[in-house]
């Protein structure tokens, strides 16, 4: 099937991306984050972080239509495609913004693939500003859909879901649960009785993560074929997180390049030295490869689904390796200051590190991609 040469990236996408970029510049989310994590530095004696985030900004984002953008028109959304969502996700990543947006966009695409009436009604809620995250992993964090530890009987969920992203920021959950030997997907309001949250202490400062325990929680089934729905949505899930990483890597590149122009050693800006200059260029080369693969994967999902799994695995593989390299070089080339809590490099470093493992790292992605040859 023919794909548009321009990834389907047109004026509309550029306008949205541009407004997202200006929104982030205006909000400066890291300033609020810094404020909220004061006193939590010490891993031995410090408090656990609260996963707080700028709620006013979130309401503005909802008002701007960012949660509705990928919701189909029949569910009250704007009905835009993955390329459009990716354009926004990249800016979220570039700002390392603590926000439930990426989780909500991922849930949106999973619900779109579910294609049931109940899924549509949950999509309407998302369009109106309900945030949602995926609860699909079991304790081992194994990446197969049927690795969930949740079971369902008489329409009630029991068990523990692990490594749930953004539980302190979201309103609802998309849960994978075993009905006998079949994976099914359920939507649950977080405030429903019987849902208990325990928060993990995690490395990434911009996200929160936790375990969700279900005690006889009544839930609405949105997909009888959970494994199939997740499989169909997987390219979108992978591409969205890769877009977030692509934005973060661009920030790491630009920040490191700027630092190399102003930091002077041996009477020269350190960017003069090729041992510094060349790795920065390599950050750019890897980042550009990732960015191109991300837009290609998004376009493939939108217009050429037969090819979209391979494309998305390649994008996440590239994003994972690029993130590892860029985070590593950014910290190293900043020298002592890059190693401190004070400098923002550490915040980006940890966010992309965390993202690298989400839905599987490069090795996992390449093994999945190889299946298509």
């Amino acid at each position: 099937m023919a794909q548009p040469k321009d990834f389907g990236y047109g004026e509309e996408q550029e306008m949205l991306k541009d407004s997202a970029r200006r929104f982030m510049e205006d909000k400066q989310p890291l300033l609020a984050l810094r404020e909220s994590i004061k006193g939590t530095e010490d891993p031995y004696f410090g408090e656990n972080r609260t996963g707080s985030y700028d709620k006013a900004a979130w309401h503005e984002m909802v008002g701007l239509g960012w949660t509705a953008l990928a919701v189909p028109a029949e569910a009250g959304g704007v009905g835009m495609n993955l390329v459009t969502a990716v354009a926004v996700a990249e800016e979220v990543g570039r700002a390392s913004m603590p926000t439930p947006l990426t989780s909500t966009l991922q849930s949106t695409f999973a619900l779109r693939e579910a294609g049931t009436e109940s899924a549509t009604s949950w999509l309407s809620k998302i369009a109106e500003g309900t945030s949602m995250t995926l609860a699909i992993y079991g304790k081992e964090g194994s990446l197969e859909a049927d690795s969930t530890d949740i079971t369902v009987s008489d329409g009630k969920l029991n068990g523990i879901s692990w490594y749930v992203q953004d539980p302190q920021k979201i309103d609802s959950l998309l849960v994978a649960a075993m009905d006998g030997s079949t994976v099914k997907l359920y939507c649950v309001d977080l405030n429903a009785g019987g849902v208990d949250l325990e928060f993990d202490r995690i490395v990434d400062l911009t996200r929160d993560q936790g375990r969700v325990t279900f005690n006889n929680v009544p839930a609405e089934c949105v997909s009888e074929d959970g494994a199939g729905t997740l499989q169909k949505a997987m390219p979108a899930l992978l591409t969205l997180i890769s877009a977030d990483m692509s934005g973060g890597c661009e920030w790491l590149l630009q920040t490191t390049a700027e630092y190399a122009k102003v930091r002077t050693q041996f009477d020269r800006p350190i960017g003069f030295f090729q041992a510094v200059k060349h790795p920065i260029v390599n950050m750019m080369i890897l980042g550009d490869q990732t960015r191109s693969l991300v837009y290609a994967a998004a376009c493939s999902y939108d217009t050429d689904p037969g090819d979209s799994h391979k494309a998305a695995h390649l994008a996440k593989s590239s994003a994972s390796d690029t993130a590892e390299f860029c985070a590593n070089r950014a910290t190293q080339l900043h020298g002592g200051i890059g190693f401190t809590w004070e400098h923002d490099v550490q915040i980006y470093h940890k966010r992309v590190m965390h993202s690298q493992q989400l839905f599987g790292d490069g090795v996992w992605q390449r093994e999945q991609a190889a299946a298509y040859f």
């Binding site: 023919a2 794909q3 548009p4 040469k5 321009d6 990834f7 990236y9 550029e14 991306k17 661009e250 590149l253 390049a257 190399a260 122009k261 020269r268 800006p269 960017g271 003069f272 030295f273 090729q274 200059k277 060349h278 920065i280 260029v281 390599n282 750019m284 080369i285 550009d288 490869q289 990732t290 960015r291 191109s292 693969l293 837009y295 290609a296 390649l314 593989s317 590239s318 090795v363 390449r366 093994e367 991609a369 190889a370 040859f373």
Partner: protein, 401 residues
Amino acid sequence: MAANETTEQREFRGYCSAWLEEHKPPPTKIPLPQAAYEVTSDDHRTYLVDWQAKCYEAGLIATDVPKEYGGHGHDKFQQIASTEVRRANAPYFINWIGLGMAAPTLLAHGTEEQRKSFLPPIFSGEDIWCQGFSEPGAGSDLVSLQTSAVKDGDNWVVNGSKVWTSLGHFAKWMLLLARTDKNDKYNGITYFIASMEAQGVTVQPIHKMTGESGFNEVFLEEVVVPDHYRIDEVGKGWQVAMSTLTNERGAGTGVGAIASSESPFAAIEQLIALAKREKRNGRTLWEDPVWRDKLMKLYERTEGATQNFRRLGVKELNGGAMRIPLQGKLTGSELGQELHQTALSILGMKSSLYIGDPNAEEDGRWALGYMNTYTGTISGGSSEIQRNILGERVLGLPKTK
């Protein structure tokens, strides 16, 4: 094909592919070398010049060049023609320096007279061109070149030597950089067109590590170059050369140069096919997850290069006009080298067999190709120089002089 093509572009693509299918020549008796810069035999030369002339006549070369300079006067058709030539797996164009460097330079900097007289025979392949930039003492540090040109009435007298001169043995004309002012490093270089048939020009072949020839050392002794063969102003040679090199690095719009039959995009598919065939310990390499990971990494980079090229068409996503184009030569050549290295590993002991050995895989093309990939990583500004250029021009890092 591309969904956002105009009707005219789609029709032209159809025309190109149909024409190529009908006119693509049968292979030569002795196989062609992998790239235009390795052609040394007269038979190959005749065959390739004939092919280029036909393609020019058919409108596949100089497609977007104005008619008054011998072009076909179209707009945004060249890339379509070039893509179709590659897709048809047709022979490369022998006059790749003429097409890839001389023509764009003349179009940008030449006089009206120079364009009218020099361009048509470049397009047809009648006049083969070579490039006289590098010298024994001036490689990556090109600006240290010493070959001198001294004004003598309406002429210049040139003395010095050039090296790594691809196609020097066939060329009628050379793009020559010579020093016209010893006291000004950057503004003391002037750009000329020199006749390779002039008195005082000696061409001596150099053999590469592959054993092939194809490039040369060129000695220039009291060679007379008329002043009207000067390109642009005296002392402007460095600036003009930079624009020529931009074309060499794949950033120019181009008139249709295709220098090589090798493409990394085909190579990765071939590598996967080889890995599915070659066995160790009773199983194919493809059945080994370590090998699959290695090959998928290369596939990812190949696809990344393809998609970078695609993203070039979406200006808003480029992060600056030169950011992607200036990476092309660096990433393409390094990827090509690793693909070939990997092919040799897949072949194992079979990779030791070279051209002429009856048991050699594809007549030793992987070993030959591997060695020839250094042409890409060294010439036209080595990979190290490319990283300097990218750091300085795209990221604004301080200059490493």
